[in-house]
């Protein structure tokens, strides 16, 4: 590591410093507003700094990290998402009694972990990034201590995440034992020079896959998802659904591309099975939910399945499709959970479908944005989700993964059913019993602004995706 390496890691430095600054700030005096502003500003600065990177930036920080277009793009995405999560968190936590300040530290650290994850090209950095992310998430999920389900979700996530980490690590260890290298590139070279893949390596890949599968929440490793989504505070849920899963997907893409995993037929088969199972199981279980958070949890399982379709399609188109889909999905999920957060009150989050009954007639704008988000999840035109799904299908069709593409099509229909159901409830008559207490108007302004922003981005990407497409194409 030398000076330029250090310089190119400035985004990570900024994040870490922000966390430390927050520590200091809390030590001096607890003030929600100050911490919020520090966090916001540092994320913003970081993002702006990141945009100064050239698209064709390509720098390896041996042996652990590599900063390239893909990495920068994903880091930008992560930072922006975190920024939005933070923005929607302020109002959410303002109405709660718990200590609010540490939340921001944790979320910065989680973002840091995710950033490391997406630029890692070595098992060690992968592991570090992942753990920084997950350990922060444990605390984030259980953040609302007064809420019983919050702890429950936290401990469930903790045990399952540690469990999956163990799998991941054991898989890495086996791969390391067999190949003598822990860098992706080394693994690729080894695979290229050894046509015969020993059982040890298969074992390693298998356990690696199990670990990754848990983190991504694909079927059959999805059990934690709904509980965690339900138990965690709404902004945190948004964060998990986006940054945490997205970072993992990005990592998987990098790993697979570098080791040329598409040539390992067995692995491809396994992922195909995972993808199909995730789509079907996720969607079918989502049909039965009456809790919006759980519903979105199951739907996120299905969405990971969709992403895996693009992932399996591979190639440039596949990677682009994933990137675009992630952008669309991030916006959508953030919007959905953000609205949930704005509708939540002190006791619990607005998570039952019944809470949304007649929302359109009470808060038309909120309801319309929420509908737009749901429609985007369903992949309906004029929304970003549509272009994303289109891209994914295109990638699948391109590489003639007809089976997967058909599964995706069928599942889109199933998915539509339950998204539409929520919309129908919102448009239905009748009053929900929910009323939220009055907060400082500025708080509303912040969350409304965030939501409106997300809504506009959603439509903008749905109607005029050209710029984003160009950006993605250039970064890859």
């Amino acid at each position: 590591m030398n000076k330029t390496d250090l310089l190119s890691l400035i985004p990570l430095w900024i994040l870490s410093s922000a966390a430390i600054l927050n520590f200091f700030s809390i030590s001096i005096r607890r003030n929600h507003k100050v911490i919020f502003i520090i966090t916001l500003v540092s994320l913003l600065v970081d993002f702006i700094f990141l945009t100064s990177y050239s698209i064709h930036h390509q720098q390896a920080i041996e042996p652990l990290l590599v900063i390239d277009g893909f990495g920068v793009f994903n880091m930008g995405l992560i930072l922006l998402t975190t920024l939005l999560v933070v923005m929607m968190s302020y109002a959410y936590f303002e109405q709660r009694e718990e200590r609010k300040e540490e939340y921001y530290i944790l979320i910065i650290l989680a973002a840091l972990g995710s950033c490391i994850l997406v630029i890692s090209k070595h098992f060690a950095s992968l592991f570090l990034g992942l753990e920084i992310l997950t350990v922060s998430l444990y605390a984030l999920i259980a953040y609302l201590r007064k809420r019983e389900r919050s702890d429950e979700a936290g401990i469930k996530y903790l045990i399952l995440a540690a469990f999956s980490s163990a799998f991941l690590l054991f898989g890495m260890a086996l791969l390391y034992a067999a190949t003598g290298t822990m860098s992706f590139q080394g693994l690729a070279d080894w695979l290229a020079s050894n046509r015969e893949v020993s059982p040890l390596v298969w074992c390693g890949f298998g356990m690696f896959t199990v670990g990754v599968g848990f983190k991504l929440g694909v079927v059959p490793f999805h059990m934690w998802t709904p509980d965690v989504y339900e138990g965690a505070p709404a902004p945190v849920t948004a964060f998990i659904a986006t940054v945490s899963k997205g970072g993992m997907i990005a990592l998987l893409v990098r790993f697979f591309t570098m080791v040329q995993g598409h040539q390992l037929t067995l692995l491809v088969t396994v992922f195909t099975v995972l993808a199909v199972a995730s789509m079907f199981v996720g969607n079918f279980l989502a049909l039965r939910q009456s809790n919006v958070k759980r519903l979105l949890a199951y739907s996120s399982i299905a969405h990971v399945g969709y992403l895996l379709v693009a992932f399996l399609a591979g190639g440039e188109l596949g990677t682009q499709a994933i990137s675009f889909y992630l952008v669309a999905y991030f916006i959508t999920t953030l919007g959905a959970f953000g609205i949930m957060a704005t509708l939540s009150d002190k006791e619990r989050d607005a998570e039952l479908i019944e809470d949304y009954r007649g929302l359109l007639w009470r808060r038309p704008l909120t309801a319309i944005i929420f509908s737009a988000m749901l429609l985007s999840l369903a992949g309906i035109p004029l929304t970003a989700g549509f272009i994303g799904k289109f891209y994914v299908i295109a990638a699948g069709v391109r590489t003639s993964h007809w089976f997967l593409v058909f599964a995706l099509a069928i599942n889109s229909v199933i998915g539509l059913y339950y998204y539409i159901r929520i919309i129908a409830v919102m448009f239905d008559q009748g009053q929900s019993v929910r009323t939220s207490e009055e907060l400082h108007p500025l708080v509303y302004v912040i969350s409304s602004f965030t939501m409106a922003l997300l809504g506009l981005m959603l439509i903008w990407l749905g109607v005029h995706p050209e710029e984003m497409l160009t950006l993605i194409r250039n970064t890859l």
């Binding site: 098992f123 060690a124 592991f127 570090l128 753990e131 350990v135 444990y138 605390a139 259980a142 201590r145 019983e148 389900r149 702890d151 429950e152 979700a153 936290g154 401990i155 469930k156 903790l158 045990i159 540690a162 469990f163 980490s165 163990a166 799998f167 690590l169 054991f170 890495m172 260890a173 086996l174 390391y176 034992a177 003598g180 822990m182 040890l200 709904p226 509980d227 339900e230 138990g231 039965r288 939910q289 009456s290 809790n291 759980r294």
Partner: protein, 102 residues
């Protein structure tokens, strides 16, 4: 010092891992589940050390230190959570923590 054959080391690690795995799945007490997970993590760490020894690199040990650190962080957060759950539920039976279903 004699070097232990890699296979034996890996088998030992694998056995440990399997023990941890089984006991995570069988145990109902959250603390024991946590301990079992730790066993699995340590098994992975052992596997890393064995692998590192095979190639004569320090990487395996470095990874082990990372794993230990992470396991420690996990345990401390885990203990805090368990404590809170105990305060609320007065039990550590994981079956009691099933408020969420569906």
């Amino acid at each position: 010092m004699e070097t232990v054959a890699v296979e034996y080391g890996l088998v030992l690690a694998g056995t440990l891992f399997a023990l941890g795995l089984v006991s995570v799945l069988v145990r109902r007490n959250i603390i024991f589940m946590l301990i079992s997970v730790e066993i699995m993590l340590n098994a992975a760490g052992l596997a890393f050390i064995v692998a590192g020894a095979r190639w004569g690199q320090a990487d395996g040990q470095v990874m082990f230190i990372f794993i230990v650190t992470m396991a420690a962080a996990e345990v401390s957060v885990g203990l805090a959570l368990i404590l809170q759950i105990y305060h609320q539920l007065k039990t550590l039976d994981s079956d009691a923590a099933d408020k969420m279903k569906g």
